[in-house]
């Protein structure tokens, strides 16, 4: 399945974009996505980040469905 991944913070510098499209096997989990990102893009390897699905923080076991809004969330620093 194809997913559009929203990027924020340090990821926008690493990818030189605020969005990328990638293909994942059906029924991939958030944990699978994190592993894919770390392996495929070595510059992200040592970065901490979490994933949001449809604007909610998602745990590693959560299965990603096509057409969901998926975002990589690096450590926040508002305030």
């Amino acid at each position: 399945m194809k997913i559009n991944l929203l990027l924020f913070g340090i990821f926008t510098d690493i990818f030189c974009s605020n969005k990328i499209e990638l293909s994942l096997p059906n029924n991939s989990t958030v944990g699978d996505l994190k592993e894919y990102i770390s392996k495929r893009y070595p510059k992200t390897k040592n970065l901490n980040f979490v994933v949001a699905i449809d604007e909610n923080y998602a745990i590693n076991d959560k299965i990603i469905k096509e057409n969901q809004v998926v975002a990589l969330i690096p450590p926040v620093s508002g305030g």
């Binding site: 924020f8 970065l47 604007e55 975002a71 690096p74 508002g78 305030g79």
Partner: protein, 141 residues
């Protein structure tokens, strides 16, 4: 958003008076205000400017959660949480939290809870610029 909370993420200058006016009420004996300000140093280096960016729809949702929890868990009447996005200069105000309550303790506690939680959960990112580079705060390994 409900009538007891005011939530805003804006690229305009924040207005302290608006926050105060929103939370003030005749039934309240105190208002607590937290005003964040941009300081001129970080990592022992001189900060020249900074930028805040957000995942705005999610950030609004997360701020709503904070406001709702503060209204539930503390004996406050109202809460305002306003945050800036975009470029800021030294001394500018990136965030204002205002809480009102019958008694001061609840106002203080709710205000502290709100800013502490905002810094942990709300998807907003700060990039600090120095003369010789820039960093995304908290992000580098």
């Amino acid at each position: 958003m409900n009538e007891r909370s005011s939530i805003l993420i804006t690229s305009r200058k924040l207005n302290l008076q608006n926050c105060y006016d929103f939370v003030q009420d005749k039934s309240c004996g105190g208002i607590a205000l937290f005003v964040g300000t941009v300081r001129n140093n970080s990592y022992n280096k001189t900060v020249t400017s900074l930028n805040f960016s957000s995942y705005k729809p999610m950030a609004i949702k997360e701020i709503e959660k904070i406001a709702n929890k503060a209204l539930t868990d503390f004996a406050i009447l109202k809460i305002a949480i306003h945050h800036v996005e975009g470029n800021l200069k030294i001394g500018d105000i990136p965030v204002i939290i205002a809480t009102s309550a019958s008694h001061r303790k609840a106002a203080f506690k709710a205000c502290q809870f709100a800013i502490d939680t905002l810094k942990e959960t709300v998807p907003i990112w700060k990039k600090e610029y120095f003369k010789d580079g820039a960093v995304w705060v908290n992000s580098h390994p």
